[in-house]
């Protein structure tokens, strides 16, 4: 048991570092004034920087390390991806966030189900950052129940006409393409009447509206389709096989979401706060109730951290990590909500303020306001517990009343 690289891993790490140091600067402790000014050029400049960095990585085979050479990768191992990520994080480079969904979910689906022409046309532009993809599955009528979707695709000669609405679409506002799950047959049970397409997000029949969240931010969108026409050649998989195709996509989603969230607002931040506050009986950091919670939250953070190490070890040994990764979000989201609320209570009446008026520039208030979203996005607490129960522990599914009923005969309350 150790935390060392294998000789092969160490060699790869050295190589990655060599390339990184030739192409980027180490992340400094503080941003320089120039950098700050640069950042304030706003979203457009940030996006341009992201695209430029992505292209560099793609050309060097570091954009998607596990993919083949010439497609942004080197045919490497998942462990190599992790190592590159660890090293990249030390450098002052633009975020790869805009490409995460496209490369993590959409393009793998296209690679599995698209024809050669489509692969040739779309894979490289996506991996090199020229084109951004989004995933259009969730609908207002079915959040957890993705297969309950209603967006209709009707055949019209060599084309399909699509009408309906998607919701919770991350990145739709800057996406060029999307993969879209539709209902093509409402007369069969719900999982059987679905078909997958890829579409052009710039088509005028596609309208993107940002959703304002309870936390004030707008990371997600609604997307409306009004008589959107797509060619049959944009179909991914057979007609009626959309659910099988979507499962490929979603399998990749679970790997992509996972842990690491919570905005870094953890027990360390709370400890920092507790060091500065005086309670009725003295410094907050000396209060037994504060200390007890610090320990409770620390063991959960540490437990997750070392669970990740175990997963990485499995990867390093060439094993496939299981759906254990589902535990991270349940733990992180609940902890964030409780920890942030507790911090606000330590702050006292002043904890009801936010932003710069609040202590720690409102970090705990922001965490507390975003926590309910984290408990829902990417699978609610309840759905994730179901997933652990069913896929990890092998317990039976909930009683399904919708499996054999034609979609248009299913109760919906509408």
């Amino acid at each position: 048991m150790d935390f060392e690289d294998t000789p092969e891993e160490a060699a790869f790490r050295a190589e990655a570092n060599k390339w990184l140091s030739a192409n980027a600067k180490l992340r400094g402790a503080k941003k320089s004034a120039d950098d700050m000014a640069e950042m304030e050029n706003g979203a457009a400049a940030e996006m341009a920087a992201s695209k430029a960095w992505q292209k560099k990585k793609a050309e060097a085979g570091y954009a998607r390390i596990t993919w083949p050479k010439g497609q942004g990768g080197i045919g490497g191992t998942p462990m190599q991806s992790i190592i590159f990520g660890q090293e990249e994080a030390k450098y002052d480079v633009a975020s790869g966030g805009p490409f995460a969904i496209g490369l993590g979910m959409c393009i793998p689906t296209l690679m599995a189900y698209g024809d050669e022409a489509a692969k040739k046309r779309y894979v490289w532009p996506a991996v090199c950052g020229d084109e951004i993809w989004c995933q259009l599955f969730s609908e207002p009528a079915g959040g957890s129940d993705v297969a309950g979707l209603r967006t209709k695709a009707e055949r019209d000669g060599d084309e399909w006409v699509i009408n309906g609405q998607k919701i919770w679409t991350t990145g739709a506002q800057f996406s060029d393409y999307g993969i879209l799950l539709t209902r093509t047959d409402p007369n069969v049970p719900k999982h059987k009447g679905l078909t997958m397409f890829y579409i052009d997000m710039h088509d005028p029949a596609v309208e993107v509206r940002p959703i304002k969240q309870a936390s004030g931010g707008s990371g997600f969108n609604e997307v409306f389709f009004t008589n959107l026409r797509v060619k049959d050649s944009q179909r991914l998989g057979e007609v009626g096989q959309g659910w099988q195709v979507a499962l490929t996509t979603l399998m990749h989603e679970r790997l992509a979401v996972g842990g690491g969230q919570g905005g870094g607002l953890d027990e360390k931040a709370l400890m920092g706060l507790a060091r500065t506050l005086e309670l009725e009986d003295g410094p907050a950091i000396k209060n037994a109730s504060v200390r007890e919670r610090l320990a409770d939250w620390y063991v959960r953070s540490a437990g997750l951290k070392y669970t990740t190490y175990r997963t990485m070890t499995a990867l390093s040994q060439g094993k496939q990590p299981g759906p254990e990764a589902s535990i991270a979000k349940i733990v992180v989201a609940a902890k964030l909500q409780d920890l942030a609320a507790f911090a606000m209570e330590l702050e006292g009446e002043v904890g009801a303020l936010k932003g710069d008026d609040a202590p720690a520039a409102g970090a705990f208030q922001m965490g507390w306001m975003s926590a309910p979203g984290l408990r829902i996005a990417g699978g609610t607490d309840e759905i994730l517990r179901n997933i652990i129960a069913e896929r990890v522990l092998g317990l039976p599914q909930d009683v399904r009343v919708d499996k054999d009923v034609p979609f248009n005969k299913m109760p919906t309350g509408r």
């Binding site: 969730s138 207002p140 009528a141 079915g142 959040g143 957890s144 129940d145 309950g148 919701i167 919770w168 719900k190 959703i211 304002k212 969240q213 309870a214 936390s215 004030g216 500065t276 506050l277 005086e278 309670l279 009725e280 907050a284 909500q337 609320a341 606000m344 209570e345 330590l346 702050e347 006292g348 009446e349 002043v350 904890g351 009801a352 303020l353 936010k354 932003g355 710069d356 008026d357 609040a358 409102g362 208030q365 507390w368 306001m369 309910p372 979203g373 829902i376 996005a377 609610t380 309840e382 517990r385 909930d398 399904r400 009343v401 919708d402 009923v405 299913m410 109760p411 919906t412 309350g413």
Partner: protein, 375 residues
């Protein structure tokens, strides 16, 4: 055994609910929440016309002279409706401070205006993050003037007068503290709006620089007067919290009864059923503790400090849980700005922090238990 509100009180409650359902929809709340106004002046005027601010103010001072039980039933409905008015600052805090510590002159000066809805008051304690303690209280009230800072004062931008906890002598600890009243429109008072998690309850920072202030109560009694005010306000706020929790339970239930997932109402899943059952349990316990607080408040019982702390802690926990899990029950849509879930979530936290956090009240509760066991 008659541990219930009277028929008259229930009638008052029904009327309040009916009125607020009509006049204070969440649209009304959002106008303040999303806007720059500190409160809804129309609603405030209507409430004043019905005499609600004067519910517990004696008739001799222009109030209705009803009592605290009547005020509690109104509080529950204001809480359920998230009413965006400076009711608690003015009525539970400012008016009670005057009634507890004020001279006859002061009562005659302030109470009729409050009862008439012509005066908005507030109560200023905190000077920074952490606990409010005698030690943390540095604002200086000396020779009729006040100098110092107060933060996170609810309804502070709209208030006409503030009761302020300040240090009036060099005596150590709470012996050096006294309450005073400041005309916020007077000289030497600067106010600045502060951003708050629940903008339907706006907060302010006060900077006093030799502002004119009059003593409220005796020197050395500022801390105990504050405690008394907070006990009373805690009971009434507990009713607001119970009203809010109940509203969340109703919202969550209604949504679960019309939302389908996997071909079934989500209300038929145990994860949802048990969540709502827990909301119900917490809210019922909180309601019962609030009732006891109301009894203690209305009868001036010596159990009030214990009853108030229990009502406060229980109601804070109930509203916290109900508002969190209401959002969760709604799923993604519950986290959008358009749905009302977040209004309750944010109000629940504002009420939890205003009057001081759970920790402080729990400690006080146990201190009271120690005293009552020793007695």
């Amino acid at each position: 055994m008659n541990f219930d509100f009277s028929d008259d009180q229930k009638l008052l409650k029904d009327q309040a609910r009916k009125f607020l359902t009509e006049k204070c929809t969440t649209k009304t709340v959002r106008k303040v929440f999303e806007g720059s106004d500190g409160y809804d002046a129309t609603l405030w005027k209507q409430i004043a016309d019905m005499g609600w601010m004067g519910t517990a103010i004696p008739e001799e001072h222009g109030g209705l002279g009803l009592g605290y039980l009547e005020l509690c039933v109104i509080a529950e409905e204001l809480g359920r409706a998230l009413a965006p008015v400076p009711f608690s600052s003015t009525v539970y805090l400012f008016a009670e401070a005057i009634m507890i510590a004020g001279s006859d002159e002061q009562k005659a000066k302030y109470l009729p205006k409050i009862a008439a809805g012509e005066l908005i008051g507030c109560f200023a304690r905190s000077e920074g993050p952490g606990a409010v303690t005698p030690k943390s209280t540095r604002a200086a009230f000396k020779g009729g003037t006040l100098t110092g800072k107060k933060l996170a004062v609810s309804d502070g931008m709209d208030a006409d007068f503030a009761v302020v906890l300040a240090r009036s002598s060099d005596e150590p600890g709470e012996r050096g503290l006294q309450l005073c009243v400041v005309d916020l429109k007077g000289k030497g008072v600067a106010r600045r709006a502060q951003d708050s998690i629940d903008p339907s309850r706006k907060h302010a920072e006060f900077t006093f620089n030799g502002a004119a202030a009059e003593a409220l109560g005796k020197p050395g009694e500022g801390w105990s007067n504050t405690s008394q005010v907070l006990d009373r306000a805690a009971v009434m706020t507990a009713f607001e919290q119970v009203g809010g929790a109940d509203a969340c339970l109703v919202m969550a239930k209604d949504y679960a009864m019309q939302r389908y997932a996997f071909g079934r109402l989500i209300a038929s899943y145990q994860a949802i059923k048990h969540k709502l059952a827990d909301m119900y349990v917490n809210t019922e316990l909180a309601r019962s503790n609030a009732y006891y607080g109301a009894w203690a408040l209305s009868t001036g019982a010596r159990e009030l400090p214990l009853a108030a702390a229990a009502a406060r802690v229980s109601a804070t926990q109930a509203f916290d849980y109900a508002s969190k899990e209401n959002t969760q029950t709604h799923g993604g849509i519950g986290f959008t700005w358009e749905m009302d879930c977040h209004l309750f979530y944010k109000r629940s936290r504002d009420l939890a922090l205003n009057l001081g956090p759970q920790r402080t009240w729990k400690d006080k509760l146990v201190t009271e238990l120690e005293l009552s066991n020793a007695a």
